[in-house]
């Protein structure tokens, strides 16, 4: 079991957002989490990544047999947890190339490997650039500065390709993308699927799942996973809207 979330409760500023999340993810699986706004989707991603504004009040998370909640933000990353941000931040003066080189070498150091020299690094970069259809010019600019929505998301997937995570959490990677950008980003993600890697796709809309077929779909509502199913569940949601789930949940509560 790569990731095991048991009864996680989390709050921010005293307000409880996650109200008992249970989820198991095995290597090679793609899980999609959908849900209406405010359901806690991004909170779940932030809590797994270790964002300090969130307080976990109950529950455990095991990642690769380690207690994830005990690890620092950077150690979670070095262990192989990657978060593709919904709103990637700009860092003026720091190129993507320098940024990702620092990240790759920190991970290697953590695992007792020698840092990559410039030549070796460049070789790997070229390989991954082709995978995600991203060009050198973009990577030499200050990271995310002046990037279009599509460029920012492609840059996130490029970084994912370079860091080769065990678990990739993609937080609304499809938001703000037009059809072409969505296709390129989805292609990149699909090329990074393998039996050793697990992907947690957080998405609001069904359409990303046309490109990236999930093994499981879970619906998050009011801080809990209220329904799980196959990719057909996403199609059902698209057709009926979130109301059919929330109504079902309300009915179950009152019965």
């Amino acid at each position: 079991m790569m990731l095991s979330i048991k009864n996680i409760h989390a709050n921010i500023d005293g307000k409880e957002i996650l109200r008992g999340i249970n989820l198991d993810i095995k290597a090679g699986e793609v899980h999609a989490i959908m849900g209406p706004n405010g359901s806690g989707k991004s909170t779940l991603a932030s809590v797994l990544a270790g964002r300090e504004e969130y307080e976990v009040t109950e529950g455990t998370v095991t990642f690769l047999n380690k207690n994830l909640l005990d690890l620092s933000i950077e150690d979670r990353a070095r262990e192989g947890l990657f978060l593709a941000f919904q709103y990637p931040v700009e860092i003026p003066g720091v190129s993507t190339t320098n940024f990702i080189k620092a990240a790759v070498n920190e991970k290697r150091k953590y695992h007792g490997q020698e840092p990559l020299d410039a030549l070796a690094f460049l070789k790997i970069m070229k390989e991954k650039m082709a995978l995600v259809e991203i060009d050198q010019a973009l990577l030499s600019r200050s990271i995310n500065e002046g990037f279009s929505g599509g460029e920012k998301k492609r840059n996130e997937i490029f970084q994912m390709a370079m860091l080769e995570p065990k678990l990739a959490i993609l937080d609304e990677t499809d938001s703000g993308l037009d059809i072409d950008a969505l296709r390129i980003v989805a292609n990149g993600i699909n090329k990074l699927r393998n039996e050793n890697r697990a992907i947690l796709l957080i998405t609001h809309y069904q359409r990303l799942l046309d490109y990236i077929q999930p093994d499981y779909v879970h619906v998050l509502y009011n801080g809990r996973i209220v329904k799980s199913g196959s990719k057909d569940l996403a199609l059902e949601l698209e057709e009926k809207g979130y109301d059919f789930i929330t109504d079902e949940t309300e009915m179950t509560k009152s019965s």
Binding site: I73, A77, I91, G93, N98, A103, K107, L163
Partner: protein
């Protein structure tokens, strides 16, 4: 006096701990400086919330065709930027070093190589322990 002269000033200041940094610069366009142009940029980076930066630009223009511009920015390293770096496996101290170097790059790039390397090392040592 020459016509159409140009000049550019780029000043990068970094404050940490409880320090106060000041930029004080004079740009003077004399009576005969026809069509002179100057652009001055003064950027301050604040590390932590107990330090400050101050800018004192002095501008003396004695020719009405001269154009003198001054721009000042103040920034700090955002929590979101730090989180982004840490989520990629770069710890807070290394992240600050990366960002500070990026901030000062425009100036460092103008220095001769050997000096630039020393300056970068000195910057790293000066910042040791300033990330709380």
């Amino acid at each position: 006096m020459e016509k159409n002269t140009r000049s550019r000033i780029v000043a990068k200041g970094i404050s940490a701990g409880k320090s106060q940094n000041s930029y004080r610069g004079l740009v003077r366009a004399a009576k005969g400086a026809i069509n002179a142009r100057n652009y001055s940029q003064c950027d301050s980076l604040l590390l932590g919330d107990k330090c400050g930066a101050h800018t004192f630009p002095y501008i003396e223009v004695k020719n009405k065709t001269a154009i003198v511009e001054h721009e000042a920015t103040t920034s700090k390293i955002g929590e979101d930027q730090l989180f982004y770096c840490r989520q990629r496996g770069i710890d807070a101290e290394a992240a600050v070093a990366l960002i500070v170097n990026g901030f000062a790059k425009e100036v460092m790039n103008q220095l001769p190589m050997e000096f630039a390397i020393e300056a970068q090392k000195l910057l790293a040592i000066s910042m040791e322990g300033s990330v709380g």
